[in-house]
């Protein structure tokens, strides 16, 4: 414990404790992503302008905003969130409900609200929201004694947004929420037997949903194609097959930046968002993939590390939750493109094009950085 200093010296002190590796890994990843977006949209040259009809320019603007937000959030003492997690939860829930009233439809899901350029995806922001909520809720008490009422309240708190997101419908995002829930419950010290029964009942729920026709036909088709990728290569299996061909044809060294033929001809849909990994695989080959995954793993490691050195349980759960969030995105997004996970529309944070995803991620990483810098401070 240190004595109270003047505010300025305190701030300088905080900056000294800044995790530069975490920050610069993030910056490297967004640059990497912007280059791939540039290729995915066929721009093939780096020049920035304020012509916001180009995804590349827009992404750069989002990156700028994201970095700004990252630093702004550093000034917020995260322990404050511990008290007001319920407020964060309610604001996010309102946003999610608003989607159903004034939302836009994109790719078959009603997930956007806003106007023109300023459209946001509340379900993206809620990812951080649910982490704050669960971390806040589960760190109310000191010690390890998690009782059943904690469990059911956590289930309820997560179940509400998950239900709304399934209704959009956006199964991929819902899965992320469930993953976060399970992960944080584990970190918070829930007995393994509970987690196991949670998993079983979840599976049962899915089976019942399929049985009674609550699962849309296309979801089953995707699962079917996943189980047998050569099934119907021009129908539902088309995307998986094309994705594999695009990535596989890159080989060890890739075809060179902006030289991806499959990419330029758009054999895979959604190249700049959910299938950005295809661009990487084809143009930069396995080496490019290795660099991306290494950077990503490094970033997540730093995030987890923050959790292990955090000064309180809330900070640990918060960092852990964001680490889980990034890991799930990494696994599912790349897993889909390389055919080890059924098709679900999930972005690769920091790499994929998309304002909401980018801002959310910067927000989360800003929080983590804040936790790191305050690791020795009392609130």
């Amino acid at each position: 414990m240190k004595e109270k200093n003047k505010k300025l010296t305190k701030l300088l002190d905080i900056l000294k404790k800044f995790d530069y590796i975490l920050f610069f890994t993030t910056i490297l990843l967004v640059i990497y992503g912007a280059i791939l977006i540039n290729s995915a949209i066929g721009l093939n040259k780096f020049s920035f302008s304020f012509d916001l009809s180009s995804f590349f320019n827009r992404q750069l603007v989002w990156v700028g905003l994201g970095i700004l937000l990252f630093f702004l959030i550093l000034f917020l003492n995260y322990t404050w969130l511990k008290k007001f997690w319920w407020a964060v939860y309610i604001i996010n829930l309102v946003g999610l409900i608003a989607v159903f009233i004034v939302g836009h439809i994109s790719h078959g899901a009603r997930s956007w609200i806003g106007w023109r350029m300023l459209k946001v995806e509340p379900s993206e922001f809620f990812k951080i929201g649910i982490i704050i909520t669960l971390a806040g809720f589960l760190s109310r008490k000191k010690g390890e004694d998690m009782n059943l009422s904690d469990l059911f309240l956590s289930l309820f708190l997560t179940g509400l947004p998950v239900l709304l997101i399934i209704l959009q419908p956006d199964i991929g995002t819902a899965i992320i929420y469930i993953g976060i829930l399970i992960g944080i419950l584990y970190l918070a010290g829930l007995k393994k037997i509970y987690i196991f029964s949670l998993f079983i009942s979840g599976l049962l729920g899915i089976l019942i949903a399929i049985k009674f026709g609550y699962v849309e036909r296309y979801m089953l088709d995707r699962l079917l194609v996943f189980l047998s990728p050569n099934l119907d290569p021009f129908g539902i299996g088309y995307t998986v097959k094309q994705s594999l061909i695009t990535i596989g044809s890159g080989g060890l060294f890739g075809k060179g930046l902006f030289k991806g033929i499959q990419t330029s001809l758009h054999f895979v849909p959604e190249l700049h968002t959910d299938f950005i990994f295809c661009v990487l695989g084809e143009e930069l080959g396995f080496l490019g993939v290795l660099i991306l995954i290494s950077l990503y793993a490094l970033l997540i490691f730093r995030v987890i590390r923050v959790g292990t050195v955090a000064k309180d349980k809330f900070g640990a759960l918060l960092s852990g939750g964001i680490g889980i969030l990034l890991s799930l995105h990494l696994l599912i997004n790349i897993g889909v493109t390389i055919g080890i996970i059924p098709i679900t529309g999930i972005t690769l944070p920091l790499i994929s094009y998309g304002g909401s995803s980018l801002i959310t991620t910067f927000l989360g990483l800003g929080l983590v950085e804040g936790i790191y810098m305050r690791r020795f401070h009392n609130p």
């Binding site: 000191k142 010690g143 390890e144 992960g183 584990y186 970190l187 918070a188 010290g189 094309q242 594999l244 061909i245 695009t246 990535i247 596989g248 044809s249 890159g250 080989g251 060890l252 033929i261 499959q262 001809l265 758009h266 054999f267 695989g281 080959g285 396995f286 993939v289 290795l290 995954i293 290494s294 990503y296 793993a297 997540i300 490691f301 987890i304 959790g307 292990t308 955090a310 000064k311 309180d312 349980k313 640990a316 759960l317 960092s319 852990g320 680490g323 889980i324 890991s327 990494l330 696994l331 790349i334 897993g335 390389i338 055919g339 080890i340």
Partner: protein, 627 residues
Amino acid sequence: MERETSVFDRLRILYVIVIIISVTLLLRSWYIQVIMGEIYAQEAKEIRTKTIREVALRGNIFDRNGILLAYNRPGLVISVDPEIIDNNPEVLKKLSLVLEESYYNLEQKISHERKYLRGHIDVVKDIDKELATYIKEHSDEFPGVLVKKVPLRFYPNGDIASHLLGYVGQITLEELEQEKYKYEYLPGDIVGKSGVELYYESFLSGQNGSKTVEVDPTGRVVRELGKVKSIPGNNLHLTIDINLQKKTEEVLKKWIENARKTQDKETEEYYKAPAGASVILDAKTNQILAMASYPNYDPNIFIGGISEKDWEELNDPKNNFPLNNRALMSYSPGSVYKVVTAAAGLNENLVEPYDENYKCLGVWTELGDEYEKYCWSKWGHGDINLLKGIQESCNVVFYEIGLSLHKNSRSSGDVFYHYSKILGLDEPTGVDLPFESKGLIPNKKWKSEYFKENPTLAKWYPGDTVNLSIGQGDILTSPIQIARLYSIIANKGESLTPQICLRITSPKEELVENSAMIINKRETLDQEIFEIIEKGLILVVKNGTAKSAFDGFPLDEVSVAGKTGTSHVLGKQDFSWFACYAPVEDPEYVIVSMIEEAGSGGKSAAPIAKEILEFIYNVERSNEGEK
């Protein structure tokens, strides 16, 4: 510090999970990119590139004077994939609405053609541009429907010379298995189906090229990667003169219609005259100047696939099978064959041409009373020699010659076969047209094989030789064979192969192949024999069975040597024949005409030759005014 919980320890598990995730993703990427990389790269290439066939333009067909008989014009054809249509039956309904074709017709056509074709089936030919654009723009409503821009074969003269030209169509599965199509052709290709389109397919078709292109996922061509240019087919110049051809078809049709208005005197039935043929050869070269077959058809109905209805009509027995080229089909020749008997008799020294050695009483019983044979003239011709026998086509004279040939010959059953062979019968003439019938000259061997089951019939009897002597019995010859037979007589023994191809030229009209005259070096007979027969043939036209037909024809200006034939066919009315050549002194034309079930050759077939000769020699048809 609130570090009393073990949440910090549990966080370390996340490190392990992240490592597991990263390693899994990397291993899988390694597998896809490095181990399977080559395979995927190959697949990527295949998915991107498409080979588009460039169909070579088919060569044009001209007549001997360079008049265009067949050419290509660009056209739009609707082609459908029957398997996609099976899964989307509503497409056909939509198509029928848009095309204003009956749904039933389209369906029938597809179900019919798919038995023979693979891949896309052409269903509607020659649609207009707006319609094609509409279908292309609404391609998502018409899965499996293709608008093809193809060169369409077009025959400007319609049904004129249809049998000679033939027609084209999509290659059938059966054809694709044939040696000549196996390697170069693909389903959907257009090939000649009959006539010279079929016979000269390899010259006309040219060589298809191909274009390798890169396509995007929607199949749109992004860029061209490589190209093998197609080589257009060669042009075909035929020996026919389209004006003479038109005239010949016109005259043939006229006399067929005329025969249908004529009654058979014995039965008082009208002649059916369902079909006929006429052949005109250049006597010196045996080039075919005209070849008509009735009924005919318009080859243009085959453009872009024939409709089921048209196809049924062409194959309906009621319509007498207009696709058949009668000039190449075999018929009982009757008396036109008598020249062979005369030649055999003269060559075997069994006939004294100028002595009246024969006596015709209308009935002939030399084979025994129970085998009475008759001359066509009930009252008989009285004392008669060979020349008059030819002139009057007296059967008795030829019975006698036949019988003496039978008795004389060492191998009595083969004597006619031997002489027929010399004169080019019992084998195809070798004309460059498809589906030529070889005909049939019966002999001992044939009979024993044909009637294997019935030993009584399998024997060769004198009656068989006698029957053959007047061109009756099982004998079959085609009009083109008879034309060649009379060309041999006209040329005093020289046998030439009839030809339809004059020359083949490149698309730039450079000579590729000039068809040379084909002289068959074969055993022949003394020139004198042909000269004697010719004398008889001149009499036929002047005073004999063809006299009335040539009434009013200036024989002193253009002398004609000919022979009529009226062949009896069991269960049918008599078939009419006439074969001639002119001018006798220096033969220029050989003309043969034949009408099925039209009675006497002198009345029905000979006038055709006369009218054609009048047309050729530009004779004023003054006699018509007199009538």
